[in-house]
Symmetry: C2
Subunit: 159 residues, 2 copies
């Protein structure tokens, strides 16, 4: 099966310290949503191809929390947060900290829009409390990881 390649749009908001990522998928909202909430699926696509993801815990429900590691050779990168709200096939609101910057925290909102015909638009926003931190995050090369992760998600959804 051939997977159509969708563009990942990454926009830094001009007014507030927020990044907005928009991406369409050739799968219905419930399937795209499940790929974000089931840790056995999340490990198969989240992040770039050259990292291996291992889950410490991933309790994706309103009031739950998560922690996972991205491993490349001897390097380990830890991430953790809590799930503020999880509405099936519609919305995930969560916090996010990269443990390399332990005092940094982002508020993330993932909205799953039903486009019909088995297609979904995902709008993922990430809000922090300073423009400098937001711009450093965007400049850190997150773009490559995000695009490559969503290509892996395309492949997973096509199976």
């Amino acid at each position: 099966m051939t997977t159509r390649t969708h563009e990942t749009e990454i926009v830094s908001d001009p007014d507030v310290p927020l990044v907005r990522i928009t991406r369409e998928f050739d799968a219905p909202p419930d399937k795209v949503f499940r790929a974000h909430t089931d840790p056995d699926l999340v490990v198969k696509w989240l992040g770039p191809r050259d990292l291996t993801m291992t889950v410490d815990h991933y309790d994706c429900r309103t009031g739950g929390s998560y922690r996972y590691l991205h491993v490349r050779g001897d390097d380990e990168f830890g991430f953790h947060g809590c799930f503020h709200e999880v509405r099936p096939s519609e919305l995930i609101v969560q916090t996010f900290t990269f443990e390399g910057v332990p005092d940094g925290v982002a508020l993330e909102k993932l909205v799953f829009e039903d486009l019909g015909d088995g297609r979904t638009r995902l709008i993922a926003t990430s809000l922090v409390d300073s423009f400098a931190d937001r711009d450093a995050f965007v400049a850190s090369g997150m773009e490559t990881g995000v695009r490559e992760g969503y290509e892996r998600l395309d492949e997973l959804l096509a199976k």
Copy 2:
């Protein structure tokens, strides 16, 4: 015992959609912190005097969550969120939703600064993703509730 009255400073940040509340207390950080984490203490001071607070759950630890109600006569106001990080006597990072506006969410950071001599400065910031929402929140009369709540906390800490 006479409780000294401290001023509560509430500032809307000019650059990002954030409110910053600064308040000093005549008690050491561990005591002010515990008044924020122990639900049996929280119910005694959080919010204005004319509301009664009841706790649905209040699991104040990294990865925990909370929900509580403020009740005035027949009116019930629900609030919930998750605790992103809880560092004893130092820091609480949590999310916050007033259930009257179920799609609204704030990222809150409470920093407990040790001023020595058994005194603490609390800096509480609340970040949202739009200036309009931030300004509506400030205009909603939150100021009265915050000031009165901290006066009640003064009284509790003096016991």
